[in-house]
Symmetry: D4
Subunit: 172 residues, 8 copies
């Protein structure tokens, strides 16, 4: 089956963050392709990628970038279906530069922006977008949400039972 | 046909902004419901809304809120399909408070955030999400994008023809 | 005697900070319960908690959360007595996101916000709120304040006696 | 009956904002005193005020100030019961200066901070603090919360009935 | 003679600002072309523009844009000679979003960024770049700088002569 | 008697703010000179001014500037006695740019920075610096402080007497 | 001879920074006292300190504090001669909170603010203030400035001689 | 051949960053001089440098500085050809102070500002400015851009071949 999600990032230094998008898509059994592509360093390659993305069968593009982050917005300028932007944290400005460069798009070219370094949520959002027309995927998403809830419940029970001092000792 | 998009806002003072989401959905012939609902002032009503949204047939929720804006994130905590958040501009902080309250969601509960006051883009993003499985809608979205391009082209031609001084006189 | 203060946090990673609220309440002999509860990952559990809090005898809720921090504000939307919010420091934005998400509440739903990571002050503020109708607790709070003053006085004396170079050597 | 809440502000230019605290306390039938007092321009008068506040019967102090806003924090340094701080919006920095000067208090001296210009919420929070030991006041607070909810419900109904275009026309 | 400077902007709403670049180039007798071109709304047109710019004889491109401002950076990704970016002031964030989106470029793709709304300086900088190999233009630039100095000197003399009260009366 | 304070500003558009420094010095009977001088547009004139300032008898320089505000810091690089910097409010960034450009000086070249648009305080600070060795001036400063206190006291009395509603009516 | 400068700080954790003020005053042979004093934890002690400071012979007070930093401003409210404020860097907000709390003082109560952690400059500024009426001290300040210049000149020469690669190797 | 680019920095602590400008100029075979020069600590030396720069044959100056960074702007006030400013990252404010001090220049004195710590781009921009009249240099710049593209392409291929897990293992 053809991949439905394209994951791209401006630099391989973003991979430790962006791989979280791949992991959640793996978990939710959503096919994806992932590559490094720089709108700045290889504009032609990027243009070809974005222009052919619909034809290749992508339904959603997830783009991560940091600093003056143009990859998500430029993808959204070319690809007609949803583009999700992941602002990568930066050393000097903490990622506010990435966030503003991605979220403050002009009318007509939306980028669905998630939190700074929020690649897991980007993957999950891509899955939710596909789940609009895929009831089985929606069930898997609900099961994932239930597992998150169970995780917190278990921690709550443990904290109530052990007390905070014992709990914190175990954290270390 | 049942509405596929639910548009909610925390206060009717957000309506002049949020109505832009409705306008673009009207243009793209996407059915929607729109109401005022406050997660803070009527948490029970809000909970019922969010819980029954899937059953009612909504595929996407667009939530606009300002300041400590919890409506989009709390919707995403309950509704399993995509939630789009619109940070409303605020008087004191320009909407940075709204933006941070909406975009900085924890792992597992994404909100697809658009620009401050970016309600038009929220509506368009909702349409793009639905267009993933609706080729006719996708065509209408492409036609809309083409019309934006034509609009800029016309302005470019006019500016090149008139020169900036004459063009600016006509702007006033 | 029933606990008068409920301490909640969105994630157990907040515990090293939030435990400072418990410590000061221990010192001031104020009963409290503490648990992990996520408004985002377990909205139903959270709603039950907030709705039953008055009945359980809580007079104050202390809620700590980071990023798009909705736990304090949503608690204040449901629980009718004072809610104290603790913005947790975040890696990317230093906790400005948490602070804005907690303090910028709309009219009608106040959250008593303390400093970023200010959980000790949250516990102390809860005690001060209870001390409004508990003269013995008020005395204990005054004694605590006196001890803080004595601590600074001792340091001042030592610095004046040793000089800054010797004092700084002892600090290491 | 003696006033239980003292409302102070650094300048009479803060009165249009700070009067909202008085209005909600009037509505909730809570006695208060209100005056202008400057920690900077009349430190002696301020010290006397803060030191005698407990004796005069105040249970809560609400202090509003803008810029390098020291009034709330200095009140909290002297008065042993809860102090609520209202950061006043400023022309140059929007009130971020006021907010940081009030909320970022050191350990041991909490100020219960509300939103920028959030004087209504300050008054309501003072009432909630008093309601911890005043069941009748708690009922009045609940009734006020219900009225807020009804206000939003009425707007929601009207919007659903009229549609957004008609609703917006009526807004003007 | 072919134009040496291309001035582009993302929207004609930027024209009142961007026209300042044209005015100073007119004054300094530097040939330029000016048009509206949107990297987001007409990516193909933009790509053709940027790719053919060298061939057309442009030596410098001045690009103004606001919000998630990608026009300057994408121009710099394609055009091999200097690109000057003008961050346009925005309503919500004052232009910090535009500034970060333009200045925080990754290694290898510099954009020479000027102040928010600093289009006059962008034009002057373009002239200075051309003046590196055009001594006559350099002389005109020096004459312009001298005229600025004379302007301030005249004001200084007037202020020293009239005193501030009379001077301010004349300002109104 | 020679003027002891030199007041300079980067542009005559700063005069409505900077004149407040002159007014308070007039009130406190401190001699000053005031002129417009641009470190950027007339660096030679500025250098001569700063270098000859000690010889002319200035004991303090007050420098106001906005944006990338270099006038105060460059004055402090040349003039060996105290330099007071006034950050002028800016349209795009509210004066944070001016503030950072003035206050964040490197070791060895202090600028005594006051609030954004705080020219009155700059004048008063200059007077306080001179009052260190001028007991009569110190008395005039104390009298001014007393008058500020009386002003607030009068407002406090009026507010306590009239109530806030009547007081606010009179404000309009 | 009595000390002319009082150095105070809100906490002994500020000593490693504030000691730089003492060091430069030692170097310039200016007498000072230094102690820890908390406006928040010991308001009475602080008030006595500030009130008696003139009588004790202080001509300048240097006050360092972090977060909601009230020590400099409250000192300036009581002590009639110059007060210099040192904003201490903070973990969450980098010291912007300290800076705003110190610099944004209202009309009538100036604080001469230096850079975040700029205690050396605070000491130097205090010396410059005293040097207004002490020609010998002024000479020592000029000699110190000359030594700074010589330090940079030596580095410049070395860099020009060695080249950057060799220079950087020696730095490690 | 005389150097065409002058690289200056306010302190040798900036050298590890500023050396990147030298490295790229070395790579592109552009002659440059590099030294340490402080506008604040040695204003006379700085003035001589800036005034004689044109005569010495410099065509571009690259100036790096941090905090209240005046070196780039003051260079631009004196040197008539392009000045490129590099904002150096700072500990407290991440370099926002440096950025604002450099980029927010008034009309008439542009500084071509690059990213925080963006010295490599400053060097590359200087080369692009010279390449406007040097076709051979332009070819070398294009070859450098091609090498950047090839670098990303190689990484993309490797990631597509290895998958993200294997790729990330090799990164460590």
């Amino acid at each position: 089956m053809a991949a439905k999600v394209g994951i791209i990032m401006g630099s391989d230094s973003d991979l430790p963050i962006m791989s979280k998008a791949a992991e959640i898509l793996d978990l939710l059994k959503v096919e994806y392709d992932m590559t490094v592509i720089s709108a700045h360093r290889m504009p032609d390659v990027f243009f070809d990628y974005a222009k052919s993305a619909e034809e290749k069968g992508y339904k959603v593009i997830i783009a991560g970038a940091g600093g003056a982050a143009h990859l998500p917005g430029m993808s959204a300028a070319i690809f007609p279906m949803p583009v999700i932007g992941v602002p990568i944290m930066t050393k000097a400005l903490g990622g506010v530069d990435s966030l503003y460069s991605i979220v403050q798009m002009p009318s007509g070219i939306p980028v669905a922006t998630v939190a700074i370094n929020g690649a897991l949520n980007a993957g999950l959002l891509a899955a939710k977008i596909l789940a609009v027309s895929d009831p089985d995927l929606l069930e898997r998403i609900k099961a994932y949400a239930a597992s998150l809830k169970d995780g917190v419940s278990a921690k709550a029970e443990k904290l109530e039972k052990l007390g905070y001092e014992a709990y914190m000792k175990e954290m270390n």
